[in-house]
């Protein structure tokens, strides 16, 4: 009876989606900022290979953010 009223499945999916999207996007965006910061630091230190690697990681982080946002909106509009 209580399980029927509570909509447990939908509530748990909401919690899971919120945790993954909210924490995941912030983490990935932070990786993007970390990449930009490291790129600047390492370029100043004349370490081009390490700087490029940091830049790639940062760009990947930002691309994942973009992909997550687009996926979220597509899922929202296809119910």
């Amino acid at each position: 009876m209580i399980a029927t009223i509570v909509h447990t499945d939908e509530l748990l999916q909401t919690v899971a989606a919120s945790l993954i999207a909210g924490i995941g996007v912030t983490f990935l965006f932070s990786v993007g900022i970390w990449g930009a910061g490291q790129f600047t630091e390492l370029s100043r230190a004349n370490r081009p290979v390490a700087a490029s690697a940091a830049a790639v990681i940062g760009v990947l982080g930002l691309l994942c953010v973009a992909a997550a946002v687009i996926t979220g909106i597509v899922v929202m509009t296809h119910k």
Partner: protein, 367 residues
């Protein structure tokens, strides 16, 4: 004929409610971006209005919940919906006048439930939908936003902690353009759908739509327009409320608070849960503050939200019930709703006039 007049009154009242919803919530949606310097007020407000409008088109799950899962549409009449709307508007006006916190969303649901109970009895209320899709998510969502924002900001500080502050601040400020946009989109989709749901319920009650019908396009478009215009008109007179009254935040906190709020509202919207978007946004703001320093959060605001949550549903329900009883004094025709509309407009004008004389309201109510 009189039924059509009442239906028109319901649609006009619902759209006015939607406009005031956007007006009140401008602060909640854009305050974080403005308080961290991520965007200029006019740009943030224009952007938020546009995304409120777009957001209203991306889902109809919440509208379906409001129209079909809270009260039994087959026993509802347009007068019941009208009385419920008046209950919600009256409660919002009372809380606005006295500077008390409130929730427009909870007031709307409470008003309709109250008038339905007064008209038909408790059989009109779909307890499963009311408890499972409104009350429980209303409690869970702000706590969830608090937790998500707290974890997110903790993780962010670990990732960027050793970077130069300048690049970190600048980065998160750019990020807030995205997170703030998502929050406005989320706000538009959840809040505009409540109005769509109410208008759809009235159309079903009037026999204009079938019991299982979805909101027609004109309902979606008019609700989207009303909330977007409301957000744009809200201005930034009350922006300080959310952005600085809970915590003084940095750009990373703003980003995580907005991201958490948007994630919770969008996920809930997908499953058709009508939320108080203000409570969720404030939950995110408090979470991002508490993760950094517990004492940075003004916990009194959390207490106010609790009080608002406890008071709003029963108070709006009581006013909705009384309004329905009053309209029935004049029979089942349009006279009762017309008189109530005139009285409501007079009271609103009087309240605004008194407020204008005695100064601005203390705080914005939310949805």
């Amino acid at each position: 004929m009189s039924s059509d007049v009442i239906l028109l009154l319901v649609i006009a009242t619902a759209l006015a409610f939607d406009f005031t919803n956007g007006f009140h919530d401008t602060a909640n949606v854009v305050a974080t971006s403005i308080s961290t310097g991520a965007a200029r007020p006019q740009v943030a407000i224009g952007f938020a209005s546009l995304l409120n409008f777009v957001g209203a088109f991306i889902s109809i799950s919440v509208a379906a919940t409001v129209a079909k899962d809270v009260v039994d549409a087959e026993v509802i009449t347009p007068t019941i919906v009208f009385a419920g709307l008046i209950g919600a508007i009256a409660w919002n006006l009372i809380t606005w006048y006295f500077g008390l916190p409130s929730s427009s969303s909870h007031a709307l649901i409470g008003g309709v439930v109250g008038s339905a109970v007064a008209a038909v009895g408790f059989d009109a209320v779909l307890a499963e939908g009311l408890v499972g899709k409104v009350l429980i998510p209303a409690v869970v969502a702000p706590i969830l936003a608090f937790g998500v924002a707290g974890f997110a900001i903790g993780l962010s500080y670990r990732v960027v902690g050793k970077q130069r502050p300048g690049i970190v601040s600048r980065g998160y400020r750019y990020g807030q353009i995205v997170s703030g946009g998502l929050l406005a989109l989320a706000h538009g989709t959840n809040d505009a759908q409540k109005t769509m749901g109410i208008i759809t319920l009235a159309l079903i009650a009037n026999g204009t739509l079938g019991a299982e019908a979805d909101p027609p396009f004109w309902v979606i478009a008019s609700s989207a327009t009303a909330i977007a215009l409301g957000t744009y008109s809200g201005g930034w007179r009350i922006i300080k409320t959310t952005g600085t009254r809970i915590i003084k935040m940095d750009a990373a906190q703003g980003f995580s608070a907005q991201g958490a709020g948007a994630a919770v509202i969008l996920a809930s919207t997908h499953f058709g849960f009508p939320l108080s978007t203000t409570h969720v946004i404030n939950g995110g703001v408090m979470g991002s503050g508490a993760a950094k320093r517990l004492s940075a959060v003004r916990w009194g605001v959390a207490g106010n939200i609790m009080v608002a949550w406890l008071l709003t549903l029963p108070a709006a329900a009581a006013i909705g019930a009384l309004t329905y009883g009053f309209t029935r004094i004049f029979g089942t025709g349009a006279l009762g709703p017309i008189l109530v509309t005139m009285m409501a407009l007079s009271l609103i004008a009087a309240a605004f006039a008194r407020r204008a004389q005695s100064g601005a309201p203390v705080e914005a109510t939310g949805t």
